[in-house]
Symmetry: C2
DNA sequence: TACCGCCGAGAACGATCGTTCTCTAGACTA
DNA sequence: TAGTCTAGAGAACGATCGTTCTCGGCGGTA
């Protein structure tokens, strides 16, 4: 077996087991058994468990965002659809049998207090998602794309949490509905959203000013 | 030392240490040292660590919701203010030096896959918060209080996650702004929201229908 | 005073885990 | 064929942890 193939098999096993059961609940010996890679090779590829954990998170971040971007690129009928199609993808994810919430939120809750690398990886992931959503939102005629993207990210993380804990994928639909309202409210003009199809709000509103 | 006092001191220590560092990262011996309760007494109060974990979560749930409800009851100038004042409380929480996200999300990420009790406690907490928000929203003239409360819960959990990971308490302000938009959009009439003060949206919109 | 029961301190036990080491078998080379 | 290198299987090591046990001391009682 190649060194590169061993790495891949280890990361595959780690990706499955760490996500399913939590990082600390999976021993190196289980990873050896699940991957078919010997313990010696395992430590040649990853000198310590935290190295494997770090690469697991980095790979998951890249794949998660790539899948999301692919889905949005394929499913959005117009660029204006983009932000809301994100929630459709979330819905399909929530429906997957192995769905168990956000791997980064989980890892952060488990090891964020004791591992800088985990905290960094989680923060990086959330920031990257925010940037992706900001890009999606930028094609819309909105006053403050960064603000709207920040609001949508709240719905994304909130729905992931809700779906993970209650087991109900419908959190994605609720988030989508709320997201559509926020998008409409952030729009600068009514006419510009007329091309957005049935998702566009018929009457955008200005954002209320907080009083507290 | 009383049996009841030992219990209290143990739950105090557990509440602090479990939240700060994660459950698995805190040993029974550390709890003994932090609480000043002997190991023998510790096991008389809590026969196993998971019993202490369960009571830790139950107590935290009760206290967290009580603090939130107290704050809302004291700070909301009108009943219509209630839902948005929730986000003000979140902001003060996010600013606390020991803030490290939602204890239930953290515990779920760490042990949800291997502990039914943790999953139950986390689910119960999130459901109770949803019910509380539903009660707050019910005083507003909205078409579907349950739906609106469900949307606001997404913002609550999303902002907790964002604040925990990025360390920026401003996530609460962004969530509040978004919440105000959702509240306004859910309103049945414009006149009814006129009494809500500066938080009320000047022009409520109807919710767009999802297309996907 | 002698006895009894409870308590705290901490050693001890058994299990698990991350990591390293040993041993053996096979592949490659001169 | 003899020698050398490598890899895999799995034992071993050292540390930690949850839990239990032992021991010595202290308070209450006849």
């Amino acid at each position: 077996m190649n060194h590169e193939e061993a790495r891949t098999r280890l990361l595959d096993a780690a990706g499955r087991l760490f996500y399913e059961r939590g990082i600390q609940a999976v021993s190196m010996d289980e990873l050896r058994a699940a991957s078919g890679v010997s313990l010696k090779r395992l430590y040649q590829c990853f000198p310590a468990k935290h190295d494997l954990v770090e690469d697991y998170l980095l790979r998951r971040d890249a794949r998660w965002r790539a899948e999301l971007a692919d889905y949005v690129a394929r499913q959005a009928r117009t660029p204006e659809d983009g932000p809301l199609v994100v929630f459709d993808w979330l819905h399909t994810w929530f429906t997957a049998p192995d769905f168990r919430g956000c791997a980064f939120i989980n890892a952060f809750g488990e090891l964020g207090a004791v591992s800088d690398a985990v905290t960094r990886a989680a923060r990086h992931h959330k920031l990257a998602v925010l940037e992706y959503l900001t890009d999606l939102v930028r094609v819309l005629p909105v006053r403050d794309p960064a603000e709207l993207a920040g609001q949508l990210v709240l719905l994304v993380d909130g729905s992931i949490t809700a779906a993970a804990m209650t087991g109900a994928p419908s959190a994605a639909l609720r988030a989508r509905t709320a997201g559509a309202i926020l998008v409409a409210a952030a729009a600068t003009t009514t006419a510009a959203t007329a091309t957005a199809g049935p998702d566009a709000s018929p009457a955008p509103v200005s954002a209320p000013t907080p009083s507290g």
